[in-house]
Structure formats: structure tokens, C-alpha cells
């Protein structure tokens, strides 16, 4: 039984939303964050992100496939989980999950298909036997790779990215809304919550791509493209500043207003969450990477590639820790304080084994990387023309040239 300091309602001493509910926003955060990176390239024409655009999309897709598992694992009745999709009760924010998740999955799958369509067709033409049948199935019976068809692909990618970006933002903002709209819990109840979730998702997604890009470059034995690393570091810095500002703003307003809940929340932060909030979320995962990234961004032109790679990767790893601790502090922290606002329960320690244990959480985080590896084997995540053994991709300019499709739409070489 947990120890209580002060007074908690007798039913209020349990952590109902366990480690799995920490994992859920962490994983969907990668989905949204990685998609933001791919949108920067496909929608906003950040051509310097071309080396990671496909990696970002594949990462978003891989994490999305795993995203619903932690929810399913935490339900008291997992076999009734589909009821949320089939008979949703629409006054509940949670009931929107099916539509948001399903809709975004459809958009992302379509976009993946359009982006990789040429490779699918090329591989279908190159392979034999079962592999050929597999790629032919993936090609959905259309083998047209004429410039006109590719131009159609590019337009489709642009449209899908345009729908997908708000979709990704909604999918993750809504997770924040689930917490932010619970008036019973003062640690959660703030309209800032969806925005904080979304901005921190961008941090985690960009940070993950910085690390992944370094790893992929090492594995491929190619140097990481420095303009791309610089750009990722710059975006990461921006979103980290935003997320820290918003997280501090939330606390500052509570403290300044001396709201009725501030007494217990200040005790929560300085006792139960001292390590995970003050030390990890704000200092180790917040302040330190902010300084490291400031160095990378402000002294960009003077940095040796190795220094830039090391500093940005170290900062990115700390950012990944920051976002995890932020999820932990919100989900678990909010359940350590009683709704009586008079007491706190002792620390929550997740089990090691079991449906909602640490090992399961690790498996959930590792699963997307396994999917990503399979994705790479099947379709390749390198930009066209870079993958080993691939024929040099030829330019497929849209009618009217690049101006018609905008810069950086699709993965065509100029």
C-alpha cells in the first residue's frame, strides 16, 4: 500500500493510469514530431531536410503502428477495446480516438505509398518469384512511372501532407486535451496542455530523427549531411525553447495566482517530483540541451562536423529524456496528488514484468525500430539515388517545371 502524507480520499491512493499511459503520449509524440519534420520538407520546402524526409515519414509510420498498443494493454477489459471504435460515446474526448487514429493512419499510409511508389514499381520490375508478387501487390496494379504520373504523385503527396500535418497535430493535441480537460485534477486542467503536448512532440520527433540520422549514417558508412544536421538542430532548439517556456508558464501562473491548488502542487513538485521534474525535466533535459543547441546554432559556421554531430546528438538524447520525464510527471504526477488537495501518495514504481510493466514499455519503444528496419529492407528509407545498388534516379520534372509543384515536393532530383 502506498504511504500517504496529508489526507487523500480513500479511493484516491491508486495510480490507475500506469506506465502504459506514459508510453502512449510518448509514442504518439514521435508520430506527430517525425511527421512535422517530413512536412517541413514536403510542405514548407526546407530542401536541406531532404536526407531525413523519408526517414522521418517511415519513422512516423512505424511508431503509428505501435501507438494504440499501450492503450489496449492498460484497459481492464482489452477485449472490449473495439467498442470505442464501434459505439463511441461522443461526449467523451476519448471517443474521438478511433476516428483520429484511423483517419491519420489512412492518410499516412497513402502518403507513404505515393512517396515510395516509384521504388515499389522499380523493385517489382527487378525482382522475381514471391518477391515480385509481393511488390506487384504493393504497386496496386499501377506501373506507370511516366513524368506525368510522377507529377500526379507529387501533387498527391503535397495534398496528403497538407491534410496529414493538421491530422498529426490533432492526433497528438487531442492526447493533451484528454488530460487538459479534466477539471477534477488541477495538475492537468489547463488549456495549455494540448499545446504543451504538441510542442514537446515536435521536440521528441526532431530529437529522435537527429539521433536516427546519425545512426543510419554510421551504418551506411556515409558522413551525415551537415546542412541537414544544422537544420534539425535549429528546429530542435526552437521547439525546445517553446516547450520549456510553456511548461514554465503553466507553473508560474499557478504560483503567481496562488490558486487553491498551488499549495499541494508546489509540495508535489518539490518533494515527489523533485528528481523527475526539477532535475530531469527542467535542468538535465531542458537547460543543458538548450545550451548545447545554442552552441550548435549560434556557432554553426565555426564547428567541425564531428563536434556538430556530437553536440547535436548529445542534446537530442537529453531532449528525448526531457520529453519522457515530462510525460511521466504529467501522467504519474497528476495521480500522486489527491483530489482532496490535502495529500500526496508515495512514489509510484512500475512493475517489471506484466502487461503494464517496464519490460513491456521497453518492447513498445523498440518495436517501431524493428518495423523501421523491416521498412528499410522492403522499401528503403534512403533518399532516391542514395541507396546502394539503386540505379541513379532521374529527374522527373513536372510539367511546367519545379515551379508548378513548388520546391522540395516529392523526392525528385533537380
Amino acid at each position: 500500500m502506498p504511504q500517504i502524507s496529508g489526507f487523500a480520499f480513500p479511493n484516491d491512493v491508486h495510480v490507475w493510469w500506469s506506465l502504459m499511459i506514459v508510453m502512449y503520449p510518448y509514442i504518439t509524440g514521435f508520430v506527430a514530431g517525425a511527421f512535422i519534420v517530413t512536412s517541413l520538407f514536403h510542405l514548407f520546402g526546407r530542401a536541406e531536410l531532404r536526407p531525413v524526409a523519408r526517414l522521418a515519414m517511415a519513422t512516423s509510420f512505424s511508431f503509428l503502428l505501435v501507438a494504440s498498443l499501450p492503450l489496449q494493454l492498460h484497459l481492464g477489459h482489452p477485449e472490449r477495446g473495439p467498442l470505442v471504435l464501434v459505439t463511441p460515446h461522443f461526449t467523451s474526448a476519448m471517443a474521438g480516438f478511433g476516428m483520429l487514429y484511423g483517419g491519420y493512419l489512412l492518410i499516412l499510409a497513402l502518403e507513404v505509398w505515393f512517396v515510395w511508389r516509384r521504388e515499389i514499381v522499380d523493385r517489382a520490375r527487378r525482382s522475381r518469384g514471391a518477391a515480385r508478387a509481393f511488390y506487384a501487390t504493393l504497386a496496386l496494379g499501377t506501373y506507370d512511372t511516366s513524368p506525368e504520373a510522377l507529377a500526379v504523385d507529387h501533387r498527391a503527396i503535397a495534398v496528403l501532407a497538407g491534410i496529414g500535418l493538421p491530422g498529426a497535430c490533432m492526433l497528438h493535441g487531442y492526447v493533451g486535451f484528454i488530460f487538459g480537460a479534466i477539471k477534477a485534477n488541477p495538475w492537468w486542467s489547463t488549456p495549455l496542455m494540448p499545446i504543451i503536448f504538441l510542442v514537446s512532440a515536435a521536440v521528441s520527433g526532431i530529437a529522435l530523427l537527429l539521433v536516427l540520422y546519425q545512426v543510419v549514417s554510421k551504418l551506411r558508412g556515409r558522413p551525415a549531411d551537415q546542412p541537414c544536421v544544422s537544420s534539425l538542430a535549429r528546429w530542435l532548439w526552437l521547439f525546445l525553447i517553446l516547450t520549456l517556456s510553456l511548461e514554465l508558464l503553466e507553473i508560474l501562473v499557478m504560483a503567481y495566482e496562488r490558486s487553491d491548488s498551488w499549495l499541494i502542487i508546489s509540495e508535489l513538485i518539490t518533494t515527489r517530483l523533485e528528481l523527475s521534474y526539477v532535475t530531469v525535466q527542467m535542468i538535465v533535459g531542458g537547460l543543458i540541451p538548450m545550451i548545447l543547441l545554442a552552441v550548435v546554432v549560434l556557432m554553426n559556421r565555426y564547428l567541425h562536423p564531428r563536434v556538430r554531430n556530437t553536440l547535436s546528438t548529445a542534446a537530442a538524447l537529453l531532449c528525448l529524456l526531457q520529453v519522457f520525464s515530462m510525460r511521466w510527471n504529467i501522467v504519474i504526477g497528476g495521480q500522486l496528488l489527491s483530489k482532496s488537495l490535502r495529500g500526496l501518495r508515495s512514489h509510484y514504481e512500475p512493475e517489471l514484468f506484466g502487461r503494464e510493466g517496464v519490460l513491456m514499455a521497453l518492447a513498445l519503444v523498440l518495436a517501431p525500430f524493428a518495423i523501421l528496419w523491416i521498412f528499410d529492407r522492403v522499401l528503403g528509407i534512403d533518399p532516391p539515388g542514395q541507396a546502394d545498388g539503386e540505379p541513379e534516379a532521374h529527374a522527373a520534372a513536372a510539367p511546367g517545371g519545379a515551379a508548378a509543384t513548388g520546391p522540395g515536393l516529392g523526392d525528385v532530383h533537380p
Partner: protein
Amino acid sequence: MDDRTPCPAPTGGPSTPRVLGRRAFLEDVLLLSGGAVVFLAGATAAAPAAAAEGAASAPPAAEGYQPWEHRWAYLVDPERCIGCGSCVRACSAENHVPDGFFRTWVERYVTGMDGTSVDSPNGGKDGFPALQVAFVATKSFFVPKMCNHCRETPCIQVCPVGASYRTPDGVVLVDGERCIGCAYCVQACPFGSRFLSPETHTAEKCTWCYHRITRGLRPACVEVCPTGARAFGDLRREGDPVRHAIEHDRVAVLQPHLRTEPQCFYLHLDGEVR
């Protein structure tokens, strides 16, 4: 996105694959997914009740009971409560409440100029041992608590499958056969009235003993209270003492600022109680 360009069949592949336009393909996908949803809905609706074995389903109303003829309300008089815990024990026995969880509980308040102490050892089930406080105590009282059966209830609002619902006679219940055990309602209840049962893995809470009140009986906790600190009444009945007290006496509800419109009223409630 039409497919006017002829598709060259891949060399050496299947003789000639069926040329399927993108538009036609998308139509097929839509048809298929629509069918899948219908199938899934049917499959889920027909899911065997065996899965829900042991689930505490909503207590059935008695035969011939007309819910719209009643509007139930609960009245607590903290000044009469002596903290004996009979109500908690009766509730536990009547509703098979799992150990360590409470559909009703009693809180003890000891207050003075320099502090307030609140406790509820084992929900007050075993009464209250003597207490030493570190300040000069000037006032002490007990407060029975339970689900407030709110009219604007956050728990019903947040249930993703509609397992929590409000009956026409104003009682908030959980359908244990539908509840998926997500605990969103537990998080949303400001009063700490709900819990997930470790036995049924579904949300449970006080039902005002719906199985009793629909048979003309009173809730178990009201039945056993030796001092009349707990009273249960029907706001639709002329001359009902609970209705009279709510209409004419000083009553308050818990956490009124949250605007959940509790139907559990407290006489002369002290400001320390949340």
C-alpha cells in the same frame, strides 16, 4: 488522378496483370473498409457475454418500478454523524465492495485556529481511534461521503463507450458489461467516488443501492445509520422530509465551484470540507 497512361506490364512477370485504375482501386478500398466496419460492429455487438463473466452489471430495477415517477436525493447531516462506521460496513456487505476500496466512507475533521487535520482510517470502516493533533483543536466533526450522483456529471461525459449513465430517476450507474476499464471516469470524478474493481476490472461506485430503492427500500447505509445522519428521499414526493430540508434548510453541496450539480446535499456544511 486518372490513369490514362497505359501501364507497361513488368517483363517476365504474371502474363498481364489486371489494369486497375487508381480511382477504381480507391472505390474498392472504400467498399471493403465499409464492409469491415459493419462486420466489426456486428462481431462486437454479438461478443459472447462469457467475456464479461463476473462483471458487476448495473443492478436491475424491480418489476413494475416506474423510474420517471421518482427523483432521488440524499441528505447528510454531519452534526449527527458519530463516526461509528456502520454505514461503511453495511455498504461493503451489501455490495460486496472489494477490500481497500470504498463506495462510501467517513472523514474526520479536527480543526483549530492554527490547523486542520483530516483523516479516514480504512474509510472509517472500523471506527476512529483517538487522535493527537499538534495544534489546539477547537472543533471536530465527521463527514460521510459517497458518489454525489451529479446531474452534470464529468464521469458520464468522459466515458468513451457510454457505460456510465444516468437513470430517469436521477441515479448514476455503471454498466459493468460495457465498461472497458479505461479509468477515465475515475480520473474525472472530483470526489474520489470511483475505483476500478480488482475483481471485475470495471469501474464501480455507490449506486444508492439501486436494487433496494427500486423495491421501496432505503440504501443500506441509510438503513443502518444509528443517528439519522444519513437520509434518503424522493424530490417528487410531497411531504418528503429530505425534500423539505433541501427546500427550507441551509444545505450545501461538495465542490460547488465545479458545477457538477451534486444530488447529495449536506446540512450546515463546514467550509473545510471539500
